[in-house]
């Protein structure tokens, strides 16, 4: 009887230890996501930059856009104003929390749009331009370690917690050294690869990092891709009025 009790106690102990170890592992990977969010979000300052987007489409040729980006991550706000091409000058995307409005200066009308949509014929999504919220939106369902090019990386499989996010499944390649995301594969609900994103260059702004080059590859249309380069970065305070519909209308007058 004593023997059985001993075996049972040992089994319970092993099970409890295994479970604790597993949750500790899970916690570590979630921590990595939190670190990524923290490293790339500007919660104590505002952020502004100029982005150049070059899209190459095998059917439609090359398209280039220059946009001015304003971000206030602590309030989940951003404004993107298109500066080039001239025909699109003044078109604006204003995000306030979960709402995103598009402004057409020609008709002077706002229309509600979705963060999941592509940004103006590019392969970037509207959601790519806000703060990173991986830890809030995804759980880690798988992990491994490996190499991407010459970098030692963690490879994490993520599953969305809600259907509010752009992609239900993602695979991330993250540098072991400083938790910078190098590559992301975005999948549909049926696990079909929809898009691959590359982040080959980062800019260090104080203690924060922001990708200075992003490449988005459309995996559904062969040869279609967009490169986004970021310059003229500033973290100076922006006036509150920038993140309003009224400003978007006034700047177009």
């Amino acid at each position: 009887m004593k023997k059985i009790r001993l075996i049972l106690t040992a089994a319970l102990f092993i099970a409890a230890f295994a479970s604790a170890t597993a949750s500790a592992g899970e916690l570590n990977y979630t921590k990595i996501l939190k670190s990524i969010d923290n490293l790339t979000s500007f919660k104590t300052t505002d952020f502004s930059a100029v982005m150049t987007m070059v899209t190459e489409d095998p059917e439609k040729g090359v398209d280039k856009k220059v946009v001015q980006q304003f971000r206030r991550d602590k309030d989940d706000k951003f404004l993107i104003l298109i500066e080039e091409p001239d025909v699109q000058k003044g078109q604006g995307y204003l995000r306030i929390n979960d709402n995103l409005w598009f402004y057409d200066p020609e008709s002077r009308r706002f229309s509600h749009t979705s963060l999941k949509e592509n940004f103006s014929n590019t392969d970037a999504k509207h959601s790519d331009f806000g703060r990173s919220s991986l830890a809030e939106d995804y759980t880690v369902t798988g992990h491994s370690e490996g190499k991407l090019g010459r970098y030692d990386v963690y490879i994490l499989d993520l599953k969305a917690k809600t259907n509010e996010v752009t992609y239900p499944y993602m695979k991330l390649w993250i540098t072991k050294k400083n938790y910078l995301v190098l590559k992301v594969s975005d999948y549909s609900l049926t696990k079909r690869l929809l898009r691959t994103s590359y982040f080959p260059k980062y800019a260090k702004v104080g203690s924060k990092y922001t990708p200075s080059v992003m490449i988005f590859v459309d995996n559904l249309v062969k040869g279609k891709k967009t490169q986004v380069s970021i310059k003229n970065i500033s973290i100076d305070k922006l006036p509150d009025s920038i993140f309003t519909k009224s400003y978007v209308e006034r700047v177009n007058r």
């Binding site: 502004s48 070059v54 489409d57 059917e59 439609k60 040729g61 090359v62 398209d63 001015q68 298109i82 500066e83 091409p85 025909v87 699109q88 000058k89 003044g90 078109q91 709402n99 598009f102 057409d104 200066p105 020609e106 008709s107 009308r109 706002f110 229309s111 509600h112 103006s120 014929n121 991407l148 090019g149 010459r150 970098y151 030692d152 050294k177 400083n178 190098l182 590559k183 080959p200 260059k201 980062y202 800019a203 260090k204 990092y209 922001t210 200075s212 080059v213 490449i215 590859v217 249309v221 891709k225 490169q227 970065i233 973290i235 100076d236 922006l238 006036p239 920038i242 700047v251 177009n252």
Partner: protein, 507 residues
């Protein structure tokens, strides 16, 4: 004559086998005749429905790599292709209008947009509509009777507005939780290659449904062309040629793990594994003071935008042509395409079916599928007949052997078997045709109701009254004779192998 007498006697002697073969032939021919006559009537009905309601007889468009329909590119290899404008539209329209036998022309364009009302901020309530951009006057002249307007009225000549599809209206009302009526304003938002996302506020002029609709047409709303040109970015100025910097080109041309992260040209990486060199650069953070004046002048000169946004009044995707005599369509298409070639106009003319879209093409393909089924039935019938005749021939080995022994040539035996089979095929084929004719007469008088919208499109109306077509009749007769000849080939070879000595042994 002797041959016929012998053949008749043989058929009489083997009544049950003759009957089996006859029933197979008769039934086959009857099904073929009824089916083909129904398909012919339906195909003519389908064509007539599309001619009079959606496509006219001929469609002109700019040239594309893949197939183009009134609903845009629909084949998998051309899904990403844009619909081109018809080059030299006014010249093309004048030429086509001057052709003899052209009854009407109507230009058209295709677009897609989301539809909302001002202040509707719900992200989940996205209603889509497909748009046919039209010239209201020419559209009504070409298709005077294709719409049922349930509320409001048609877009007046020379004015702007939206004719909202009844199906789209119902979906939108469900999203909004309120009713829509003519006079209400809606926001149409669409994306185009040239000017990106565009919004137009448009007034609903009327609510309509197509008299003959299908799931592809249910989502179509009609809009004046000025608004669609803005939504589609059909402007006077074409997109500029973009020159990329060397760095941009290098990055875009080498998008793979090793080029970007393995120390290649784009990576500019250092050598140590895991090093940050090349991956992270310290940014030169700019000091910026956003005063009111800086903020309001951030876009610079905006006048050029207005100039570039000017729409092209000659921009259309399609020109639909209605002829006095549809039978001339092929000749007119050839004539127009020759004109395009001689004048270096990068456009093409195609028949109505090419422009009609997948559902119409699918309906048309059903006839082909039916003919394949008939072919399979015919092959089965030939095999059964062949088998039955072979049994009959085997039973008559002594008789055939004796005939050979008393001097009958191989050719005589061959002709005898062929005549036997042909007689069965022709007699029962005629019976099959007669029965098929009676069934068709009955169906013509009674009519076959189209139980759903798909059959309405397929039948070209709510009831199909099948008519026996000359084509089907000729085809039935040809098939009868062919079956007869093919079915007798193998039995003939069996019969010819019979030697007189075998006959003696069996006797």
């Amino acid at each position: 004559m002797v041959l016929f007498k012998i053949a008749l006697r043989n058929l009489r002697e083997h009544k049950s086998k003759t009957l089996i073969i006859g029933i197979i032939v008769g039934l086959g021919i009857m099904i073929l005749l009824i089916g083909n006559s129904m398909m012919d009537t339906a195909t003519k009905g389908l064509a007539k429905t599309y001619w009079n309601n959606f496509t006219g007889h001929i469609m002109i468009s700019g040239s594309t790599k893949g197939d183009l329909t009134l609903f845009g590119p629909q084949s998998m290899n051309s899904m990403n292709e844009s619909i081109p404008k018809i080059p030299d539209y006014f010249k093309v329209k004048d030429y086509v209008s001057s052709l003899p036998g052209v009854e009407a022309v109507s230009p058209q364009a295709f677009g897609m947009s989301t539809i909302r009302t001002e202040g509707d901020d719900s992200e989940s309530s996205t209603t889509f509509t497909q748009l046919f951009g039209i010239d209201p006057e020419l559209y009504r002249k070409m298709f005077p009777d294709n719409l049922e307007i349930t509320e409001g009225s048609f877009i007046p000549e020379g004015e702007e507005g939206l004719m909202l599809s009844e199906h789209v209206k119902e979906a939108l009302e469900e999203d909004l939780g309120r009713k829509l009526k003519p006079g209400d304003q809606v926001l149409l938002t669409s994306m185009n290659d040239l000017s990106g996302m565009k919004i137009r506020e448009v007034s609903i002029r009327g609510i309509f449904r197509f008299k003959y609709s299908n799931p592809a047409l249910d989502r179509i709303s009609l809009i004046d062309m000025q608004n669609l040109r803005v939504l589609n970015g059909m402007t006077v100025t074409a997109a500029k040629d973009i020159k990329l910097s060397k760095n941009e080109e290098t990055m875009l041309n080498n998008v793979d793990d090793n080029s970007l992260f393995g120390g290649g040209a784009a990576g500019e990486a250092g050598s140590a594994s895991g090093s940050d060199t090349g991956l992270v650069e310290t940014a030169t953070v700019q000091k910026k003071k956003y005063t009111e004046s800086v903020l309001l002048n951030i876009l610079g000169d905006k006048k050029v935008r207005e100039k570039l946004s000017k729409t092209d009044s000659g921009a259309w995707h399609f020109l639909l042509i209605k002829l006095n005599n549809p039978a001339r369509a092929r000749r007119v298409i050839r004539e127009i395409n020759t004109y395009f070639k001689n004048n270096n106009i990068n456009a093409r003319a195609v028949d109505w079916l090419s422009g009609a879209g997948m559902i119409a093409q699918m309906s048309s393909n059903i006839k082909t599928i039916f003919n394949v089924i008939v072919l399979i039935i015919a092959i089965v019938a030939i095999i059964i007949m062949m088998n039955t005749i072979v049994i009959s021939v085997t039973e008559r080995i002594p008789e055939i052997g004796t005939m050979r022994a008393i001097g009958a040539q191989k050719s005589f035996i061959r002709r005898m078997i062929i005549v036997e089979t042909l007689m069965v095929s022709v007699i029962f084929g005629i019976i099959g045709i007669a029965l098929g004719g009676l069934v068709l007469l009955f169906l013509y008088l009674k009519g076959i109701p189209a139980t759903n919208i798909f059959f309405q499109i397929l039948f070209g109306g709510k009831v199909l009254h099948p008519v026996m077509s000359v084509q089907s009749l000729v085809l039935s007769l040809v098939v009868t004779a062919t079956i007869g000849i093919l079915a007798s080939l193998y039995p003939v070879s069996v019969a010819l192998k019979i030697q007189p000595v075998q006959a003696m042994q069996r006797t």
